[in-house]
Amino acid sequence: MNNIPGRMLSARSISKSFGDVHALDGVSIDIPSGQSVSVMGPSGSGKSTLLHCLAGILRPDAGDVSLGDEPISLSSDAARSRLRLQHMGFVFQDGQLLPELPALENVALPLLLLGRPRAEALGRAADWLSRLGLAGLEKRRPGQLSGGQEHRVAIARAMVADPAVVLADEPTGALDQATGAEVMRVLTAATRDGGASLVVVTHDAGVAQWCERHVEIVDGRVINDVAARWAA
C-alpha cells in the first residue's frame, strides 16, 4: 500500500558534523524504487550517519533528503517519525526487537501503531513469519530465539507494513558467516518480492555482494558508486 512505484529516496549534497568531526561532506545519492544498494566504508567513514540521515533519524546540517515528493530533512520530528512509520522498515545489528513481546506481536507492532485492527495486524504478522520460515515460533520471545531467527523476525517487522524502503545497519554484524549469508538472502528476497528499496550499511564485502549497487564512502564522501557485476 505504501510502496508507491517511482518513489525515489534522494539525498542532495548533504553534510553532517558532530562537533569538529565532519561525518558527511556533500553526499548525493539517488535510490530508485526497488533497488538494493550497499553502502560500504571503513569504520568512521560516515556510512551509518548517511543511513540515519536517509531515515530522518538525523537531520543533515546542509542539503536535502526526500522520499518521492516528501521532503524528509525539512520536516518536523513528528513528521519524520510518521514517515518512518508509514514508509520505512529497519533491520539493525542487534535486531532492536522488544524483549517483552513474542515474535508475533513484535512483527505486528508497526501495523498496530498505524491503527490497523488487532486481528488484521496479527494475521499479517503471522503470514510474514511463515514466509520467512518462522512458522511455529510466533509465541517465542527474542531471548528464546537464535540470532538468525531474531534477525528474520526483524526483517518480517520491517516488511509487514509494505514499506517503500528498508534500511539495514550492519544487519549481520553479530552473526557468524553462514547465518549472516542466510539473513542477507532472506532480506534481499523479501524486499525484492515486496518491491521495496533496500539500503544496507556494512563493512563486509560478502554482505555487500547481495546488493545490485555498491556505494563506497571514505571520510564522508562518496568515492565509488557502481552497479554490481552480476546485476549489470
Binding site: 517519525s81 517483552e100 491503527g115
Partner: protein, 460 residues
C-alpha cells in the same frame, strides 16, 4: 496518540508475562514506601497542629503542677515536628523521584525502538509518563492502604504524655487525595526528566547522549547559604516572636535541604576526579562511574545525607529532662528522644530503600557492560571492590558533610547547646547508615553475578 496508547496494555502484559516485571515491581514498591512514609509523616505533623488547637487533657493534667501554662508551650512541639517533617519529606520525595527514573530507565531501550519504528518523541514520552503515572498511582494506593492498616499501631507511641490515637493520625480525605495527587504529579515530572535524553534520537540507547558535567555554581550555593544563615540566625527571637521566628527557621531548613541536594552531586563529581587518577582498577572504575553520573550517584546516597543531617541536629539539642523538676521539661525531653528515634528510623528506611533501588537500577542499567567485562575475563571480585568504593566513599561524604552542616545550622539557633548523648547518637547513626548503604549495595551482588553469567554466546 490514541494509536500509541493502544499498544501500552500489550507492552505491559508482555513485560509481566516475560518475567521482566522486576523493575516495575521495584518501582511500585518504592512508590509504596515513599507514599506510606509521606502519609505518616504529614499525619504526625497534623497531630501536633490539632493538639495545639485543642490541648489533650492528659497533657494538661501532667503539667498541671508546673510553673508555666502547658498549653502555651505547645507550639514548640509543632515547630520541632515541622522541622522533622521538612527533614523527612525531602528524602521521601527524592525516593519517589528515583522510583520514577528507575521506571523510565527500565523502558528506555524499548522506547528507543518505538522511536525508530516511527513513534514521535512526544508520543514516546507520553507513553512512558502514562506507565510511570500508573505505577505511582498503584504505589500510592498500596501505600495509603498500608498507612490506614497501621494506624492503630501508633497507639504504642506517646507524645505530650498522651498516646497517639488512630483517629488523630487519620488525615482528612482531601489531604489523602492531595498526597496521592502529589506523588503522581512528581512521578510524572521525574519521568519526563529521565526521558529527556531519549527525545534527542530514536537511536536512544545505541547513541546515548553523555550527561553534561555538574556546574560549579552548585557548590557556590553552600557558602551563600552559610553566610545568609550567619546573618539571619542571630536576629531570631523565638521567645518574643515565635510565629515569625518559627517560619524563618522552617524556610531556612528547607533551603539548607535544597542546598545539600545542589552541592552533593558536585562534591561527588569532584571526588570522582580524584578517584579517577588512581592506578587501581576498582578505584579508577568507581571514579569514572561517579564522573559519568554524579547526580545518579547522589540519588543513591541522598537518603544517608539526611540521616547525617538529622544526626547532626541531635548534637545541638541539649540534654534535658534528667532530674528536671518541671514536668513540662521532662515531657519535652522524653518527646525529643522519641521523636528523634522515630525520625532516624524513618530516615533509615528511606536510605535503605533509596540505596537498594539505585544500586539495583545501576546494575540493570549496566547489564550489557557487565556481560562484556565478563567476556573479557574480568574477575567478579573487581565488581565487588568497585561497588564498595563507589557506594561507601560517596555515602561517607554525604553523611559526614550533611552532619557537619546540621551542627552549624542548629548550633546557631537560640537556646541550644551541645549534647553528649546527641554526639553518641550522631556517630552511631553515621556508622549504622554507612553500614546500611554498604549492605544494600552487597544485596545487589546476586544481580551482578546473574548479569555477568549471562555472557555465553547465543545458540544458533
Amino acid at each position: 496518540m490514541r494509536r500509541v496508547t493502544r499498544v501500552a496494555p500489550m507492552l505491559l502484559r508482555g513485560r509481566i508475562s516475560a518475567g521482566q516485571g522486576l523493575i516495575d515491581l521495584m518501582t511500585v514498591a518504592a512508590f509504596t514506601v515513599s507514599s506510606w512514609l509521606l502519609f505518616t509523616v504529614l499525619a504526625g505533623l497534623n497531630v501536633f497542629v490539632q493538639r495545639q488547637a485543642a490541648p489533650p487533657a492528659m497533657f494538661l493534667a501532667a503539667v498541671g503542677g508546673g510553673p508555666v501554662d502547658g498549653a502555651s508551650e505547645l507550639p514548640i512541639w509543632t515547630l520541632i515536628a515541622a522541622c522533622a517533617s521538612v527533614l523527612l519529606v525531602v528524602p521521601v520525595l527524592t525516593l519517589g523521584a528515583a522510583a520514577a527514573r528507575m521506571g523510565a530507565l527500565g523502558r528506555d531501550r524499548r522506547l528507543a525502538t518505538l522511536r525508530l519504528l516511527g513513534v514521535s518523541g512526544g508520543q514516546v514520552v507520553a507513553l512512558s509518563v502514562l506507565e510511570t503515572v500508573l505505577a505511582a498511582l498503584a504505589g500510592a494506593v498500596v501505600g495509603l492502604v498500608g498507612y490506614l492498616v497501621t494506624l492503630p499501631a501508633w497507639a504504642a507511641i506517646t507524645f505530650q504524655a498522651t498516646p497517639l490515637s488512630a483517629a488523630e493520625m487519620l488525615l482528612p480525605g482531601w489531604a489523602l487525595a492531595s498526597i496521592v495527587g502529589l506523588v503522581v504529579v512528581l512521578a510524572a515530572i521525574s519521568a519526563v526528566g529521565g526521558l529527556m535524553r531519549l527525545r534527542i534520537s530514536p537511536l536512544g540507547v545505541a547513541r546515548r547522549a553523555p550527561r553534561p558535567a555538574v556546574r560549579v555554581w552548585r557548590f557556590l550555593a553552600l557558602p551563600l547559604a552559610v553566610v545568609a544563615w550567619l546573618l539571619v540566625a542571630p536576629m531570631l527571637n523565638l521567645a518574643r516572636a515565635f510565629a515569625v521566628g518559627a517560619t524563618v527557621v522552617l524556610v531556612s531548613l528547607a533551603v539548607f535541604m535544597g542546598v545539600i541536594n545542589l552541592v552533593g552531586p558536585w562534591l561527588l563529581q569532584f571526588m570522582g576526579h580524584l578517584l579517577a587518577r588512581s592506578g587501581r582498577p576498582s578505584v579508577l572504575l568507581a571514579g569514572r562511574r561517579l564522573l559519568a553520573d554524579p547526580k545518579g550517584a547522589w540519588r543513591s546516597v541522598s537518603g544517608l545525607a539526611f540521616i547525617g543531617f538529622t544526626g547532626g541536629a541531635l548534637v545541638t539539642i541539649p540534654d534535658l529532662g534528667e532530674g528536671a523538676a518541671d514536668p513540662l521539661i521532662r515531657i519535652l525531653a522524653d518527646d525529643l528522644r522519641t521523636g528523634t528515634y522515630l525520625t532516624l528510623a524513618i530516615a533509615f528506611v528511606v536510605a535503605a530503600a533509596s540505596t537498594l533501588l539505585n544500586q539495583a537500577s545501576a546494575v540493570l542499567d549496566r547489564r550489557r557492560e557487565l556481560q562484556q567485562l565478563g567476556n573479557l575475563g574480568v574477575p567478579l571480585v573487581l565488581h565487588d571492590r568497585t561497588r564498595l568504593v563507589q557506594v561507601v566513599a560517596p555515602a561517607s561524604v554525604a553523611a559526614l558533610g550533611s552532619g557537619l552542616l546540621a551542627v552549624f545550622f542548629f548550633g546557631l539557633l537560640p537556646k541550644v547547646g551541645a549534647s553528649q548523648l546527641g554526639v553518641i547518637v550522631f556517630l552511631g547513626a553515621l556508622v549504622a547508615g554507612i553500614a546500611l548503604v554498604w549492605a544494600a549495595g552487597e544485596a545487589c551482588r546476586p544481580l551482578v553475578r546473574a548479569a555477568v553469567a549471562g555472557t555465553g554466546p547465543r545458540p544458533d
